[in-house]
Every structure is written in C-alpha cells, then in structure tokens.
C-alpha cells in the first residue's frame, strides 16, 4: 500500500457559511491508493455484468482546466426568490453552486432549486414547434406556426370579435415578458388576459389591497426573523416555500418565538410548530373570530393603533361577539381554550405576524378569509413594523411581478384599473393614440342609449374560461363565446371541474400552448386539429427581472441559450405581434437585440418602459442598472433588514435588496425601496410609509342614535384619514389624501417642482393640471416633492376593517358549497347567485342542490388539496425532471387510518376517489396517515396525464411525456367561485373513497 499525498490548493472555505461561525479553510490532503491497482484489472470480469454507476456522457463535469463563467438567475419554482448560481463552460451549464451571497437564500435551495439544472438539458422538453393534424403531432417551423396561428386569430377576430380570443399568461414570465404580454392583449383589444395569480392569490390581492392599499406581502421572508409570534394559517411553507423556513425557524430559535400552525392537516410545517391547531377545512373566518372574541373580550386589542389607523373596527367587534367559544368549537372543531391561548400569544407577545397561502385564498370566501386575517392583524396592531405584518407567501418565481404588471382581467399594468384615466395614462406611456387603442375593442349598445365599451370591462378569468367556450351565446356578456385560447406557460390541470374543462377544450377552434413542456392541455384527449405547441425557453434561459414575494426585484441573467428550438417569450411575443399587425406601435420605444432567431426585444429596454409608467406601485425606480448592481453586490445586504451594509459600494449604498416596491420616483432619485409596507417608523425616503389613501377622505355613514328619546338614523361623516399617525419625519403630522397637483398647490409645495418636471406635468394634465397625480406624473416630480416633505405620495389613511365596496364588507362565515354540515349550510349559506366576470356565479344553486341531494351522505369525506415539495403547479416541468420525479412517483390520497380501516384500504393500495360532480372519479394510491384528521382526505395537485383511471401518455408528442404521470385532483374538485375574483374553490369539497 502506498500513501499518496496530494495538496490541492484550497479554493474556498465553506464552513463559514453554515452559520455565523468563523472557520479556517479546509485543508484537504490525501487519499490512500491501492498499490498495483490498475484500471484494466477487472476488465475481464466486468463483462460478466459487474454493473457500476457511472457518469453519462450527456453531463460533462466541470473541467477545472477550462475557464468557467458564473451566471446568476432566479429559481423559477416559487416566490421566495432564491438566487441560482450556474457554472457555464462552452455554453453548457456544467455545475451549480450554492449562492452564498444572496441575502434571501444564503446558499440554500429546496429539492426543486437543487435540481434546477436538469431543466435546461431535460430531454423531455418540447423540442420544436408542433401542430396537431388529425390527432397526430407534426413538426413544423416557427414561421409556419406563427403564420397559421395569427391568421386563425385574425379570422376569429373578424367573425367573433377580439373578445373571443382568450390570453393566458404566466407567473414564470419575467416582469418584462409579463408586461409585454399584457400590452399585447391591450393592443389586440381585450382584457381577457390572466395568469396563475387568479388561482393562487387573487383573493389575497383583492382582500389586502382593499384593506390598506396594496395587495402584496407587507414584510419579507427575512423580516420574519424579528417575529415573536407567528401564525401560519392555510399554508405549508415547509413544502411550498422551504427556504422561507430558514428564516421562520431561525426566528423561532433566536426569539424563542411561538410558531402556531392552523391547518386542517398536520403538515411538515406543523411538525415544527410550537402549537398546532387542527380546524375543519373552510372555517377560517370562524377561527379568526374565535381569536378576536377572546381578544376583544379581554381587552388585548391595540387600542391606540385602532384609533389612529383603522376604520370600522367596531363592525368587526359586533361580528366577533357572535362567535363565542362554544359556537366556534361547533363550527370549526377547535377547543375554546386552545384559541384563547393562541389569541393571547398573538395579541400580547408581539411583534406577531400572520403567514398565509392558498389554504386561505382558494375558497368561495377567499377574499373574506383574507380580510379576516388582515382584521386580526389590525386589531392587535401588528402591521407596519418589523416582525409584524401579513406575510403572504406567493407561488411562482414571478407571480408577484406578473400580477403587478397586469396579467389580470381587471386592470392594466400596475393596478391602474381599466377606466379612461388608466388607458390614457398607458397610452401616454406607450406613445400610442388613445383613440386607436379604444378602436381595438368591441363595443355594444347598452341601456339608455349608452355604449358598453369592453375596454373598461373585466375579462374572463382562468377559472372559468371553459365555461365561456361552451356556454350558450346569450348567457355570456360578450359578442360571442371564446374561440381561441393562447396559453403561455400555464398548466391545464390547475382548475377544478376538469370533466367540464375537457368539453371547453374540445370546442375551441384554436389552442396555442407555448411552454417548455407540452402541459396537461395536450394529454387530455378530445382535440384532433387546431392545436399548436410552441417550445418556449425556461426562465433560466431568459434575461430579465423577477419580483419575489417580498416585492424585491432581482435581475436574472440568461444562463445558457434556449436549448433545442426553444425561443424566449420576448421573441415569440414580438413575432406574434408582427403578424397581428401592431408590432410597430407596440415596440415603438423598445430596443432590439440580436437573439437566437434574430431581432428580439431587449429586456432592459422593456424594464425602462415599465419604469416610465410604473408610478402607482413604485416600479419606477428600479432601473436595470440598479438591479444588476444589486445582483453583483448581493453579499453587502443585511439578512434581516435587507439593507445595504455600511461597507457597501456607492452604487447600492443605502438601498434595500432588490429595491422592493414601492421604489419611488425616477431611478436618478435613488429611492432605496420599501422593505416593509406602511412602516411609520421610517422616513418615506428610507422606505417608510403609511396606509394608502385609496378610498377617499371621508365616508358618509348611517348610524343609529338616540335623539329626544327616539332612536333615529342619521348620517355622519367618518374620517378615513389617519389620525395622529404619520411616518417618521413627515411635515404633515396627521392623515392626508393622495398627492395631486391640486394638493401640492394647496400646500404651497408646487413651487418645489423643477421646470422640467413642471413641463411634463403640464403636458400630461393638458387643461386639467390639478388632476395630475403621483401615479400619472411620470416626471416623478410630485412623488419627489411629497417625499422631500416626508409624506407618502399615496396619502396617509386608515386601513379598513370595513371594506364597504366588497360583497361582505365585514367578513361573515359562509359554508363551503359542498359541506358535510347541512345544519350549518342552512345557517351560513353561500352568497346568492349573481353575475360576475360576464357569466353567472351559481354557487347558491349548486349548494342548495347538493344539500337537497343529501350529498354529505354519499360523499362523507372532506377533500382538501395542497402542494408537495418536489413538484410545482400543474407539475409538467417538475415531473419531467428525473431528479425530482424519482422522489414522488405516484399520485396519492392521504387518508386517516380509521377511514382506511373502515373501507378495507391498505397503505400503498389503489383506491378510487369519487367526486360529487360529473360522476368523476380518480384512481390513486392510498397513503394512510394521521396527517389528516378523521373524515378528511388530502391530495397533492401537481399530477396530470391520467384521466379517470386511464393513462393518457399516448397523447403526448413522442418523447415529451413527463416521467411521472398521475390523476389530477382537479378531475374531482367542484364548483365554487369567490364573488370578488372568481377564485375557484380548491380547498374544500367532498368525496368518497373506496378500495380499487
């Protein structure tokens, strides 16, 4: 035996990163080597079948002798915003390294992030454009595909109008692509453009924005480290946002904080909780009122906070009074003592934060749930300070950005809405004629000689698109039903009622699926012609910015050129716009760069256009240069505050990581971004703020009063502006409305505007300069002046515990459409049928029919759904990743041991799960576990490719089928839509389970 000693130079020391412990670099020395051992020694025996695990040629190792380029992008699989560090050699992604410098993930990843390299050489990707001809997929060229698609679209436009083409965008778009896609829909002439936010946090956006101004996470993942009490309700971040748990668990350990998980299922997150509260699915509002009951009863509420910064808390108090512990226990199943304990912790051991996810949002009462959560935060004064807030964990990489940039049927980019002011603002930004834009839209005569202009009407949401295809023409409020669906980066198994979706899918004239993978739209049989598959690059093959859930923007570099014949979204959108005839207008101010297939829009240039128009949400300060500087200097940001350290270089000095929006004014004004929303402890110029004055300055309210011994109703004006609360350094020591030229003039601050700013404002205002506001002034002057005086450009108002414009201004409990508690359905029915998003929401009728049919008897098990750590969304991408697919190979249902025993179901055995609608059933494996309570079943939602017991693998074009297929839970999930956003009911329905 020889001892070989090789002293390889230590390149980097890694231990230092494990925690805050310094350590000297490793000194790796030597390995023993067997004497006389030769490689050929066993060649002869090898032929006898001594199999060995070897490296395939497809994956070359990092060649240490060759130069390596390091590129940074952002993981596409959730919204935490983990930096992915790639080592590239010869245009091939050869290695992945931990991203130590990122203040968000600090080197770490979850299973998906650690396996992300696979997706850019994954051989299950769609390799070239394909067209479905008589049931067979044929390879075609990009040019042919785009020519045929655009011709068909124009034909449909001619026959049925622009509203018959439905656009579905993606939360995996970069901000720039999302913006282009929204812009394309606008130029085409429809508001029917949606994306994944509809089915994940649309109710959050609506509920939160209606409470205090913006529909986003108020604080950040990092800030959770400051919390002393955390409630995670309706979320399982240990699987959905694993890296966030790094911050949650560190916070829990450092502060010895309370971590309370409220969920129908004992999740992996609950395994690390200090208290787990099991509730009946769909009873979030009673649980919150159960908490508020104890809080109000014991006077634990934050009275000063409520007085200064909250409107309408008394209405909540009245509602909470109805929810005494006994009633709550009856409805939710939670013992009163436990809720009291949790309520006391949340109210007294502050700062407290409430974290939620799709367990809160995917309900017929989604918006109301979210509003109830916000109310709890407001009542305990837990908003607008470190360690507090609504920490809303969003889904995909850029679901926050795509939402912000208007892939939403109710608004133009950055929440400007759809009214004339909004369109005029954007036509100014785009430098296109307002009348021309207006002319792109369908119009129809309305009542009393008015004209209904579809330019201002919300479009068709992704939860109901198939209804809009199959519905009778006179049942839908537009000229014709949907004829074409253009789907960029969205799965086909994400919405309940798949049997009905199949009908819609079959009835479409044109289906375009532009995606790195064919998605479940393809696996579902029924179409023979008129389907096009376009291979789109993944986010990792794309330059551009992404907005993480904490509102930080991060610039991702294209790691490698799109593989196979894949193209970037930018190029595909540009080429499609060219063929639809408006590319010259749409790309007027956007620079082109040389891409893989020729000219393609430059990401930086698109971001500059967003900056130019993005004042309403503070997307105006994040220039590409600033974002790139942040990525370059990641290591200089603090992991708790996200603020640049004292030793940071000048280009990022004072900034918060990723310039979390709102980042006010022009990039030159160098606003540092707002890490915590509504934080009055900071000056606005340093990222502080107030609640947004969005709903006027006062409200007329009818109150009952005693006058001359008689009870009369009289109108009083209630002040909606903050009282005695203002952000640090504010010159106005009270509430104030949003800033317009009129307000500036009144304060005498208009003289602070520079001449250039004034010129721009004059140009925008025309003959009504006073109407130019902080959101429409793209000189940035109004914002600059307001901030200079310490004021939030959007005003300083109260948050609303009573949101009078919503269907349930103060949240009230409503039983799910399919509830096992018929007695409670009678007491807490869902809202009556009504029209929303151009079609009828018939929830009430469905609920009534279910009760009448006694559905609770034949379908006794509550079914809820959720996420697995290995997969994401519809799952085609991750189920095609061999490193991930190996870990979850079967669709399964979690069933309680008692329910399993009663049905003769064994662990790992096949079962049929029957749904209450359409005689739908799915065949899955049983996972017998106490994670779920008795009478409850849980299924993951990422599977697809089987349909009611049948394997649909043959429907995929050869070689593009994902490694793992399985039944989709949405085959058996059921009817139900939130009244505000048409969010589907994804979390509560009923089912029956039987051994197969």
């Amino acid at each position: 035996m020889l001892t070989k000693r090789s002293d390889t130079k230590t390149r980097r020391a890694r231990l230092a990163h494990i925690d805050a412990h310094g350590h000297t670099p490793l000194d790796r020395r030597s390995f023993l080597r067997n004497a006389g051992m030769t490689a050929t020694g066993l060649a002869a025996v090898g032929t006898l079948g001594a199999a060995t695990v070897q490296k395939a040629h497809a994956l070359p190792p990092v060649d240490l002798g060759k130069p390596t380029t390091v590129k940074k992008n952002i993981c596409t699989h959730c919204s935490v915003g983990c930096t992915v560090t790639a080592e590239v050699q010869n245009g091939v992604w050869v290695g992945q390294e931990p991203s130590w410098d990122s203040p968000i993930n600090r080197g770490t990843h979850c299973a998906k992030g650690a396996a992300i390299r696979e997706i850019v050489f994954g051989d299950r990707r769609l390799k070239y454009p394909m067209k479905l001809v008589d049931g067979e997929y044929n390879k075609i060229s990009w040019a042919q595909a785009l020519d045929e698609i655009s011709a068909k679209m124009l034909e449909i436009r001619e026959k049925s109008g622009p509203e018959s083409v439905w656009w579905l965008g993606s939360a995996k778009f970069t901000n720039e692509a999302a913006y282009l896609y929204r812009k394309m829909a606008a130029f085409w002439g429809t508001n029917s453009v949606d994306h994944q936010a509809r089915i994940c946090h649309s109710t959050t956006v609506a509920g939160v924005a209606n409470t205090w101004g913006y529909g986003a996470q108020t604080n950040s993942y990092n800030d959770i480290r400051n919390s002393k009490t955390m409630i995670i309700m309706g979320g399982n971040p240990a699987e959905a946002h694993p890296v966030s748990l790094q911050h949650v668990l560190t916070g829990k350990e450092i502060n010895r904080a309370n971590l309370i998980v409220i969920d129908p299922r004992m999740t992996r997150t609950a395994a690390h909780a200090t208290e787990y509260v099991r509730i009946r699915a769909g009873t979030d509002i009673p649980v919150i009122y159960g908490l508020l009951y104890h809080i109000f009863e014991n006077g634990w509420e934050d009275k000063t906070f409520i007085e200064q910064r909250v409107h309408g808390m008394n209405d909540v108090r009245a509602e909470a009074k109805k929810w005494d512990p006994k009633t709550v226990e009856d409805v939710t199943g939670v013992p009163g003592e436990q809720l009291k304990r949790v309520a006391e912790m949340f109210a007294k051991q502050k700062p407290s934060t409430l974290i939620w996810c799709m367990g809160a949002t995917q309900h017929t009462v989604g918006t109301a749930n979210v509003r109830a959560y916000c109310t709890l935060l407001l009542a305990t004064g837990n908003v607008g300070a470190p360690g507090t807030g609504a920490n809303i964990f969003r889904g995909h990489t850029n679901v926050q950005g795509a939402t912000d940039l208007g892939l939403d049927v109710i608004t133009l980019p950055l929440y400007y809405g759809l009214d004339d002011n909004a369109w005029r603002h954007w036509s100014r930004v785009w430098e296109v004629d307002f009348e021309w834009l207006d002319g792109r839209f369908d119009k129809k005569p309305g009542p009393n000689n008015t004209t209904i202009n579809y330019r201002s009407l919300p479009g068709i949401p992704s939860t109901r698109w198939f209804d809009a295809v199959t519905i009778a023409k006179d049942q839908i409020d537009q000229r014709d039903t949907l004829k074409a669906a253009i789907v960029f980066g969205h799965g086909g198994n994400t919405v309940p009622r798949m049997p009905e979706m199949m009908k819609g899918l079959a009835a479409l004239d044109l289906l375009v699926v532009a995606d790195p993978h064919p998605t479940n739209f393809v696996s579902l049989a029924g179409r023979k012609n008129g389907t096009y598959l376009l291979p789109i690059a993944t986010s990792l093959e794309c330059d551009g910015s992404r907005t993480a859930s904490n509102r930080s923007l991060q610039w991702g570099e294209k790691i490698v050129e799109p593989i196979f014949e894949s193209a970037t979204d930018y190029w595909a959108i540009y080429e499609l716009a060219k063929r639809l005839g408006f590319a010259d207008k749409m790309f007027k101010n956007i620079a082109m760069v040389k891409g893989k297939f020729g000219d393609e829009p430059e990401a930086e240039s698109i971001l500059r256009e967003i900056n130019k128009g993005g004042f309403s949400t503070g997307y105006c300060g994040q220039s590409p240069e600033r974002l790139k500087a942040h990525m370059k200097n990641q290591k200089h940001f603090d992991i708790v505050t996200l603020k640049a350290n004292a030793d940071a270089p000048a280009e990022i000095a004072g900034d918060h990581y990723g310039l979390p929006w709102p980042c006010w004014g022009t990039p030159a004004q160098r606003h540092p971004g707002t890490p915590l929303l509504y934080n009055t402890n900071l000056h606005v110029k340093d990222g502080g703020g107030t609640f947004r004055a969005r709903f006027g300055v006062e409200r007329m309210m009818k109150v009952k009063a005693q006058e001359n011994g008689q009870e009369i109703e009289k109108e009083v004006k209630e002040n909606l502006l903050a009282e005695g609360s203002y952000s640090l350094g504010s010159e106005i020591k009270d509430g104030y409305p949003e800033f317009t030229m009129a307000v500036l003039k009144k304060l005498g601050w208009d003289t602070d505007l520079t001449a250039d700013e004034r010129t721009t404002i004059d140009k925008i205002g025309g003959n009504n300069i006073d109407g130019v506001s902080w959101a429409t002034d793209f000189s940035g002057g109004i914002q600059r002046v307001a901030i200079a005086h310490g004021c939030s450009p959007f005003g300083n108002a109260k948050a609303r515990a009573n949101a009078w414009n919503l269907p349930d201004p103060v949240p009230v409990h409503r039983e799910p459409i399919y509830s096992p508690r018929i007695d409670l359905v009678a007491k807490y029915p869902t809202r009556p049928d009504f029209k929303s998003f151009r079609m009828t929401n018939a929830g009430f009728s469905v609920q009534k029919a279910a009760v009448d049919k006694g559905i609770g008897k034949s379908f006794p098990i509550i079914l809820t759904s959720g996420r697995l750590v290995e997969y994401e969304g519809g799952g085609e991408e991750t189920r095609s990743n061999r490193w991930l697919a190996e870990l979850q190979q079967d669709m399964f249902v979690e069933i309680h041991p008692a329910d399993a025993a009663a049905r003769g179901i064994v662990e790992g055995g096949w079962v049929w799960v029957d749904g209450p609608e359409n005689n739908a059933k799915i065949k899955v494996k049983a996972l017998v576990t106490e994670r779920v309570g008795k009478g409850v079943a849980w299924m993951p939602f990422h599977f697809g490719g089987w349909y009611q017991g049948e394997d649909q693998r043959k429907n995929y074009p050869a070689g593009t089928d994902p490694i793992v297929l399985g039944e989709s839970v949405n085959i058996i999930t059921t009817y139900g839509f939130d009244p505000v956003t048409a969010m589907h009911e994804g979390k509560v329905t009923l089912c029956q389970i039987r051994a197969a």
Partner: protein, 54 residues
C-alpha cells in the same frame, strides 16, 4: 470415471445456464424503483459495462 466427467460437465452446464437465465432476469434499480405512473429512460450506466476511460 465417466460419472465424474459427466458430473463436472453438468456442473458447468447448469452454472452457465443459470448465469444466462439469471442475468436476463436481473433488474437494474432504475426499473425496480419506478412505479406504474412513470416512464423512466432506462439508464445504460446501471446495466453493466465498464466506465468510459478517457
């Protein structure tokens, strides 16, 4: 003597037969640890052969 030679021959024959039969039945782990919902591209690296030498 014939019985001895026949026996040796039989041992060899049975062994060779067994090796062929069993090697064809031998399953690589990628196949074994894949369930009904999957289509794994079987990995040639697992089925034998010697590592490529450069």
């Amino acid at each position: 003597m014939t019985s001895f030679i026949a026996a040796v021959l039989a041992v060899v024959a049975i062994s060779v037969g067994a090796s062929f039969l069993l090697e064809t039945q031998q399953q690589t782990v990628d196949k074994t640890y894949a369930t009904s919902g999957t289509r794994v591209d079987l990995d040639p690296r697992l089925s034998g052969g010697v590592a490529p030498k450069h």
